[in-house]
Subunit: 166 residues, 2 copies
């Protein structure tokens, strides 16, 4: 990872069955790509499949915001970069941005809130990150310190824009 | 439709391939269900497949917020109800709520901003609703007048809650 840059975490291409009646990638397929990108982030912070099985720790998604900037079509290469906006002892808020190709136009962004969950007991419950995950998140936050917060971060859905879009 | 009630627009059940490694419906599958519910709303406002083809009008999704309240598992019946929060001459902001069964627990909610698009020219562009769609939206807004705005409407993603959740 390069210091002060969003982290490239996922690459894919637009599948044929993601195309809707408008000829563009369906809105729900963007959510699928961002979900897979989040899985790729988990692999990097000590929450890959083997670690989840061994530790009974996982994450649950609490909130997801999707901003759609531009349509895309079948076969287009998609690159997803991540920045960690903030985290505490059991939650993280991340910003994912999808580009057409490695350096192409920004297609969409997703802000997500995730919570650490322990599935080891009789019922799943929120639990602090394991030390390995906390250390990975601290390292990522440190590496990305100084990155500007995306202007759309924290924004909800609004019919009338309060400020000019970026 | 009953006056002053959210409109039941879509029913489905949790498919086997929507289940993730946590044993619950995957976060992106919620987005898929809400996307299909929005298609069902389009069918009711003069934007079904035949009307889209004849008029070259469609909608594009601009923003989607997803709030995850509760997990669900394979085979569970899902009911999605809709309320129209606001609309103008070419946009609409809707609130979709997913329940387990007809009267069961609230599983998730989605707030969405959509824009009317004319695909008839050389390039797609934003365009006012057709009269039929505008009349249907006005009628829906009128029927739902007086419904309380959901407390989470307009909210963005936040790690720290500003108010107590509903």
């Amino acid at each position: 990872m390069h210091r002060g840059e969003p982290l490239l975490i996922y690459e894919t291409e637009v599948a044929a069955d993601w195309i809707d009646y408008n000829g563009h990638m369906n809105d729900a397929a963007y959510a699928l790509v961002f979900s897979r990108a989040l899985d790729a982030l988990m692999d990097r912070i000590g929450l890959d499949a083997a670690a989840r099985k061994a530790s009974r720790r996982t994450v649950y998604t609490l909130q997801v915001m999707l901003h759609y900037f531009k349509g895309t079509s079948q076969g287009e290469a998609l690159f997803v970069r991540c920045r960690l906006l903030e985290h505490d002892d059991k939650r993280m808020r991340v910003w994912l941005e999808m580009q057409a190709g490695r350096e192409g136009a920004s297609l969409a962004a997703s802000e997500q809130l995730l919570i650490s969950v322990d599935q080891g007991g009789t019922s799943a419950r929120a639990a602090p990150w394991r030390a390995e995950t906390k250390a990975a998140l601290d390292a990522l936050a440190n590496a990305q310190r100084g990155l500007e917060v995306p202007p759309l971060a924290g924004r909800g859905v609004a019919l009338k824009r309060k400020q000019a879009p970026p």
